[in-house]
Symmetry: C2
Subunit: 550 residues, 2 copies
């Protein structure tokens, strides 16, 4: 027997198993996040403001797209005191029906998007509740919400979250007639915050959101005036479709649960009905390998049989999961977005073919903007997106950053301190789209470093990088050509005088002609370019878009 310890503290401090049990109780998920609010992105006042706007805008865009409505969003940030703000977020989405109004905003881990395999911005049923919780924590004020589904009523209500029970507490509810059949949601929150306009800020977030969602019209009414992000296309993207899980990505524990709860009559129809890419012959192959009869009722499958089934599912050759569950930005829209927001010389965009990690389909897109007014002497700027949502925090711990740093940018004509971001007048845009983005925290700020993900991002960058390299080379060539031309022009008087002596023509006329030739680009001077002569100038082809030498 081990003796009771010799304690510094009095013996009465010691607890028995009964004492400990007496203190055990359930922790509501709302209490959990109230105490751990940094997990949701609320670790400081300026980040809190950005997180709130992000959660609101994400929800609005998801809802509009699901309903097939072109998004019209308005975000208002009004300063009420030194660190006191009112934030109003308004959309024209489908709204929320009366019976779910309170829950949709006031209960954490409640929502429509968690259980399905389909790309969306929100997933976990936490986001907007976190925003409401933060408001009530810092100012004690309820959220004010207005919504209508476009029927005859507009609902206005105020609510708090009862964190101990993780339940909404509606403190006011009025109904008004809806003559104009308005539909959408307006959320108003009063918070303690700090407003900034630097990199990790609300306006920067909205700017990048506009790049990734060019079919959205967003108005930002901030403390320093109104900013509008016009839509550049009126076509909503093709809606992603919900898919079933793929056998390669399913975990044994999940398979056992699916077997326990399926309504399928037999294990063969279970495989065919509840998984992607399992047809009759694949199902037969799997069952033969697992030594299970196809007529077995799922309820009779024991755990060791399920384990055999699971192994067999990984061994049979199956088509990759369908990818219409993913909605990429598309190459054209990425280029448009970059052109709209950045003054560069060269733009390129790549949409990779879809790929798979842990059974989850994903797709990577890369956009590069180079030259022009971008800063040539700084590290490249990185725009990270996950399911069309800009990621502004935790850059250093993101799989996207890792991938960008692992690429050898020197091949594409850029500087790069070892293992760092490339240096040059460059913006790198990476979009990661998936039915399930593996975020490193509930605040959804960085993507976990799965090797399959990093590899595919690097392939995308390399594709885009090779195209960029051609431009960087030609740009360097034209810069060098320009320098050589300038050198040539300095010698024009000397050359003209020599030619006067040779031809007897007036040197000033020759000078004018040589000058025009040089400036119009007709003089192509090859590499060594050491001795410049009229003979070389003669070999020059006339440029297609020349100004003419009248």
């Amino acid at each position: 027997m081990v003796a009771k310890g010799v304690l510094g503290a009095p013996i009465s401090d010691n607890m028995t198993a009964e004492d400990i049990a007496l203190n055990m109780k359930e922790i509501s998920v709302a209490e959990f996040f109230e105490k751990n609010r940094h997990l949701l992105g609320y670790e400081n006042s300026s980040k809190a403001m950005l997180t709130i706007v992000k959660e609101g805008v994400d929800n609005s865009l998801d809802a509009c797209e699901e309903a097939g409505v072109l998004p019209e969003l308005k975000v208002t940030v009004k300063q009420l005191g030194i660190d006191r703000f009112r934030i109003i977020m308004e959309d024209n989405g489908p709204g929320v029906i009366e019976s779910k109004m309170a829950l949709a905003f006031g209960k954490m881990l409640f929502g429509s998007k968690f259980h399905r395999l389909k790309q969306s911005r929100g997933k976990q049923g936490l986001g907007i509740r976190g925003a409401i919780l933060y408001a009530q924590l810092t100012t004690g004020k309820p959220a004010k919400i207005r919504t209508s589904t476009g029927d005859s009523k507009i609902h206005d209500f105020e609510m708090l979250i009862d964190t101990v029970r993780n339940e909404p507490k509606m403190t006011l509810h009025t109904v008004a007639p809806n003559k104009e059949r308005w539909h959408g949601v307006v959320i108003e929150l009063e918070i303690e915050g700090v407003y900034v306009e630097r990199a990790q800020s609300v306006p920067e977030y909205l700017k990048r959101t506009a790049i990734a969602n060019p079919y959205a019209h967003i108005i930002f009414n901030g403390p320093n005036g109104v900013q509008k992000f016009e839509r550049t296309t009126s076509t909503l993207p093709k809606q992603p479709k919900e898919i079933k899980p793929h056998p390669y990505g399913i975990e044994l524990g999940i398979l056992i649960r699916m077997i326990a709860t399926t309504r399928s009559q037999n294990i063969r129809s279970f495989l065919m009905g509840e998984f992607s890419r399992v047809g009759g012959s694949s199902a037969d192959q799997i069952l033969a390998l697992a030594k299970l009869e196809s007529g077995r009722k799922p309820a009779t499958i024991a755990n060791d049989e399920a384990e055999r089934l699971h192994k067999s599912m990984q061994m049979v050759k199956l088509i990759a999961p369908p990818t219409d569950c993913i909605s990429p930005m598309t190459e054209a829209l990425i280029e448009n977005g970059l052109k709209k927001e950045l003054e560069a010389d060269y733009y390129v965009a790549i949409t990779r073919p879809p790929s798979v990690y842990r059974g989850n389909p994903f797709q990577v897109e890369v956009g590069l903007a180079y030259g022009g007014k971008l800063n040539p002497n700084a590290g490249a700027e990185l725009y990270r997106f996950a399911n069309k949502v800009p990621l502004l925090y935790h850059q250093s711990s993101c799989a996207i950053t890792k991938a960008v740093e692992e690429v050898d940018w020197k091949r594409y004509g850029l500087g790069q301190p070892s293992g760092s971001m490339p240096v040059g007048p460059l913006v790198v845009l990476i979009h990661f789209a998936s039915v399930w983005v593996p975020f490193t925290s509930e605040g959804k700020e960085a993507i976990a470093a799965y090797p399959e993900i990093i590899k595919d991002i690097k392939l995308g960058i390399q594709d885009a990088g090779r195209k960029l390299a051609g431009f960087v080379r030609s740009q360097r060539k034209s810069r060098e050509g320009r320098m050589r031309r300038q050198l040539f022009e300095r010698y024009i008087p000397v050359v003209a005088e020599s030619l006067e002596k040779l031809t007897g023509k007036d040197h000033s006329a020759i000078e004018v002609k040589l000058d025009v030739m040089s400036k119009s680009g007709k003089v192509i001077i090859e590499e060594p370019a050491a001795d410049v002569s009229a003979g070389q100038a003669k070999t020059a082809e006339p440029a297609e878009d020349e100004g003419g030498d009248e």
Copy 2:
């Protein structure tokens, strides 16, 4: 009215608010972490094994300390197949009573430590359930648990977690007589994993746990043999006490909830009874500032009055919160721990006075080990601890790392590439102890970068660094002295010959004497040391522990 969008997808894909509402449902917290298991530290198979052992060991140490029992822990890792392991974790703690057995292991967000302000390793009621969930996900096998509180019964049971309902599902329960009055918990899990012995490994975790908890006896029975971590003290640390929240750290939303649920008769007794460091006169000052009568019933306090109260609470001068809620490692035990595990030349440990962030008391400790067999050409090794738990992952995003890198180590005689870890034969141990450690994720691997925390860690390092600097200087001096002595010895024959000419004594006898003097350290040669002479040698003091010059 905004038109329905021109869609690429067929119009029937569009969902109405009713459709969306139909899909809304509650997400159980167990489902949430099942899908987000990387948040709990299960993103890959080798980390998973470490996380499981960590959760088990943390719980065991907490339980033993609460019950005043000297911890006897045994961790067994047995390889069953290529990537299949059995992990058994055993303690001699107080055990779990029968009515709470299932919940204590099978319900997430359930526990005794979340709601109290007192230092402990576990807090959230997630850890060990995450381990059980991971086992059932990867192998489908239930957890096997044995426990007794030291009464007449030993319980053996097997259980799974019903993730959809976040409830335990006991699949077996047998009771045996407990003749020896054994008490404790044994948990056995079968998992998919990878066993490693490098840095981020189970043995490394246990080694560091032993450093921070020298009163624990830990046996590790691993795939490559048995390793024992003996205790170096049989005295349990003074038990931390539970404290009440301090007015400076309370958030408005929490204050409002406390007011709503208090049993205090009036607002004055509420302030005095439910907060630390609020006596009668502080309460009166606060209430006067807030313009609230001290006799007001808490239930009658409106939200704007609560807000005034909250502001006033921040303005009145109060003593810092009590710090007996914190259990530091102590300077002596840190030094012992470092000495036991590392062969260095110099050790120093500093326990800082307690400090406060967001109203939460915390205390920083720093230990340094320098020289000896530590690698002089690598970056210093960093041992991070939070509430005596070693942190092995996410080093780069931890407040501790940030603080270490921000210190100017060159002052203490060490190399340091700008903004990086110092370079030299150095181990830096940092312990952060608090009633609430602000971890950056549920996996509890890094501390959030609160400025107050970083500042205090830096102060601790500077304290320890100044002491280290003295040693580094004297070590350099003695190395330089040694080099000079070697130089001197090379000239002994020349000097001896000169002395022979001067004194007439035989030069070989003089040579022997000079050599003995030099080797015994009697010759202290001062800085310039250009011309070595017998006169200088004469001024040398006899060394205390000299070998004698027979």
